[in-house]
């Protein structure tokens, strides 16, 4: 991989630098913009020194906007890397956490916690849970994600057809959603309302230990993903080649699934199902960098994911107005066209995987 020509590695470096600059820029912009306008200088001062003359501004930045921006970064990194891993694992460009029902599985895990605890609280109330509760939610959501992922893998693992995999994923997702619906059917109207709010997705309200738990799990998932990038590269050639190159395919698959489930599960538990980030960002990154090498793709997916999630968050705040759009709506508006682009440009579909 080092035999890449000089010019392409130079332009790659430029793109990475550009993305990093954009990431910092949008991070600052995301903190700056909102229903209360705070001058840029003050924002910089608060972020870097943690002091301000106006306590209200300090509170808004430290307790609301900063956690939200960090959550956006975690979501952008986590979902896009989990999508990238799934696309390589299934050798299918249409694989992604929300498309194959993995987020629905995580939702089921969250629902199961609420159901068995007998609590009147809904999923949306996880933000009121304590530390142990948030760990329980993360574990259950990850297990739910892993359950659906292994089911899809079992049914469609050997099928190379892109569209069939997508259909199987949608079906498994539908079954999962149905199970959740049964529970919903027996729920109180106010719980239902809160559940529906959860499905819109939200980056806000994750503070203190919740943010720590989320960051910890996402960083762990990302590290596992990066450590398996050599294996992911070998998986590009398909399982038979991977095995002939000394990979224990079962173990590799388990590690990739673990990482994917942790990332998708934890993020979905806290932020609700956020669509299209997982499928769209790996494609954008691949197109941008023109490589399939996961050692480059994983960090760059994080960068692109960070930039785009911050942009989505900025758009969802509707700068200049008091309205806030649900984050899931914004990501779908941006992500769905990318999926259509992937399907329409057949060459793209053929050349990335399958």
């Amino acid at each position: 991989m080092q035999i890449v020509s000089q010019s392409s590695s130079n332009s790659r470096r430029l793109i990475i630098i550009g993305l990093s600059v954009l990431a910092v820029l949008f991070f600052m912009l995301d903190i700056m913009l909102g229903s209360v306008s705070i001058p840029f200088g003050e924002v910089v001062k608060i972020v870097f020194s943690g002091e301000s003359d106006t306590t209200a501004w300090l509170f808004i930045i430290e307790k609301i906007r900063l956690p939200k921006a960090i959550t956006a970064i975690l979501v952008g990194c986590g979902l896009s890397v989990s999508g990238l891993q799934m696309q390589t694992l299934f050798r299918n460009p249409l694989a992604g956490p929300s498309e194959l029902g993995i987020t629905a599985g995580a939702g089921l895990g969250v629902a199961a916690v609420m159901l068995t605890s007998g609590s009147t609280a809904s999923i949306y109330a996880i933000r009121q849970l304590g530390v142990s509760g948030s760990w329980l939610i993360v574990v259950m959501a990850s297990l739910g994600a892993a359950l659906v992922l292994s089911m899809v893998l079992l049914i469609a693992g050997r099928i190379k057809d892109n569209v069939i995999l997508l259909i199987v994923g949608v079906m498994v997702g539908t079954i999962t959603v149905s199970v959740i619906s049964i529970w919903q059917y027996f729920s109180q109207p106010e719980q239902l309302q809160e559940y529906i709010l959860w499905t819109f997705g939200s980056l806000g309200g994750i503070v203190q230990y919740h943010l720590c738990v989320l960051s910890g799990v996402v960083i762990l998932g990302l590290l596992i993903a990066f450590a398996s990038s050599k294996a992911l590269n070998a998986m590009l050639l398909g399982e038979n080649y991977a095995r002939s190159m000394g990979l224990t395919v079962g173990k590799t698959r388990f590690i990739i699934m673990a990482s994917t489930s942790l990332l998708t599960g934890s993020i979905t538990a806290f932020c609700g199902p956020i669509g299209f980030v997982g499928i769209a960002i790996p494609h954008i990154t691949r197109a941008l960098l023109g490589t399939s090498d996961h050692r480059i793709l994983i960090p760059c997916c994080c960068l692109v994911g960070t930039v785009l999630m911050l942009v989505c968050d900025i758009i969802s705040q509707m700068p200049g107005t008091q309205t806030v759009l649900p984050i899931n709506v914004v990501t779908s508006l941006l992500g769905a066209p990318v999926v259509i682009w992937v399907i329409v440009s057949r060459n793209n579909l053929r050349s990335s995987f399958s």
């Binding site: 035999i3 990038s229 050599k230 002939s244 190159m245 000394g246 490589t291």
Partner: protein
């Protein structure tokens, strides 16, 4: 060839385990040896179990019984990582990782030797460079896989297997999607590689005539799962070759080493004489028209081919008169009259 074999199979049974029922045995009591420096072609009709054997030998599919030794170590006891340093594969499945450049794909062959992140050492780079030279793929090192033709792709896949630096290479139908010049080139390449690098190369193929020319040894798989091995010429002369591909309307010509489409219909014998290359092509034309070419000069119909000043002339004698033709086409048109009428 005094070396000990790289791959040995003793009393091997291959097939598929079908749950609690009896396993479906494709072939049993196979005894095989693969020596370094040899190019071995595995031939057999469709469904004889070529792929099953290839998959079993490469460890992708469990054997039913018997044992396979690779470098004196049992295949079952070899860890995937160790096996990867002894055996590399080129599979039939088409790889569509369009974003990978050729050099990146060839570098993947070094996977068994690199560290946890897959960084390439100088030795790795040297091996990659060598295998791209050996397969003549360096010219498109920076091109992407989806920009290559099938023939170029297959050479790249071979380069990847070479960079894996194993003494044994297994190729499953490496010539399957290639046109004739590319097939010939691939076989020539494999033949030379086996000689120059002292690797043992086993490939399964449907290219009978190419295999006859290039292989040091043939493994012939019969439809009933029996496997005969030997030097190609021996197998042709003792009839094993013919037996493996026996089928109606199909005839193996031991004189030319090619298969001919032989029709059952009652046909008219014709005596043919003349220069050998002219006879060869005339014979093909006549056989296509359901005539039988005989070496008996007492037949009623005779064709004599003579060549004056490079221009061949066909003289056809139907027992009463002799006609001269300047092309096979005209000859065939007139021969239609003496053909027995086809009753359908």
């Amino acid at each position: 060839m005094n070396d000990s074999p790289i791959l040995t199979a003793r009393n091997l049974s291959i097939g598929y385990k079908a749950g609690k029922r009896l396993p479906r045995i494709v072939s049993e009591s196979l005894n095989l040896d693969l020596f370094p420096g040899q190019l071995v072609c595995l031939l057999g009709p469709n469904g004889a179990g070529k792929s099953t054997l290839m998959r079993t030998l490469s460890g992708l599919q469990p054997m039913l019984s018997g044992e396979i030794l690779i470098d004196h170590e049992s295949l079952i006891n070899l860890k995937p990582a160790d096996l990867a340093q002894k055996l590399s594969l080129v599979l039939t499945e088409r790889i569509d990782t369009g974003n990978l450049t050729v050099s990146e794909l060839v570098a993947l062959g070094r996977t068994p030797y690199t560290g946890w992140l897959g960084s390439l050492s100088d030795l790795d780079k040297e091996k990659i460079s060598w295998s791209m030279d050996a397969t003549d793929t360096k010219q498109y090192a920076n091109r992407r896989m989806n920009e290559l033709s099938d023939g170029e792709r297959q050479k790249v896949m071979l380069a990847r297997a070479l960079s894996q630096d194993t003494r044994l290479i297994l190729l499953d139908e490496p010539t399957a999607h290639l046109d004739l010049p590319n097939r010939v080139e691939m076989m020539r390449l494999l033949h030379n590689l086996a000689r120059q690098t002292n690797k043992a190369i086993l490939l399964s193929t449907h290219e009978l005539d190419l295999a006859l020319q290039a292989a040091d040894k043939l493994w012939l798989m019969h439809p009933d799962g029996k496997l005969v091995s030997g030097v190609p010429e021996d197998l042709v002369l003792n009839g094993s070759f013919e037996a493996a591909f026996i089928k109606n309307g199909f005839h193996f010509d031991r004189n030319t080493g090619t298969f001919t489409i032989h029709k059952e219909a009652a046909s008219t014998p014709i005596y043919l004489s003349g220069k050998s290359n002219l006879v060869f092509w005339t014979k093909r034309a006549l056989q296509r028209e359901d005539f039988v070419v005989s070496e008996n000069p007492d037949l009623r119909y005779k064709i004599e081919i003579s060549a004056d000043d490079e221009n061949p002339v066909w003289e056809f004698n139907d027992g009463s008169k002799t006609t001269r033709y300047l092309t096979i086409s005209k000859l065939l048109t007139d021969l239609q009259q003496i053909k027995p009428t086809n009753k359908i």
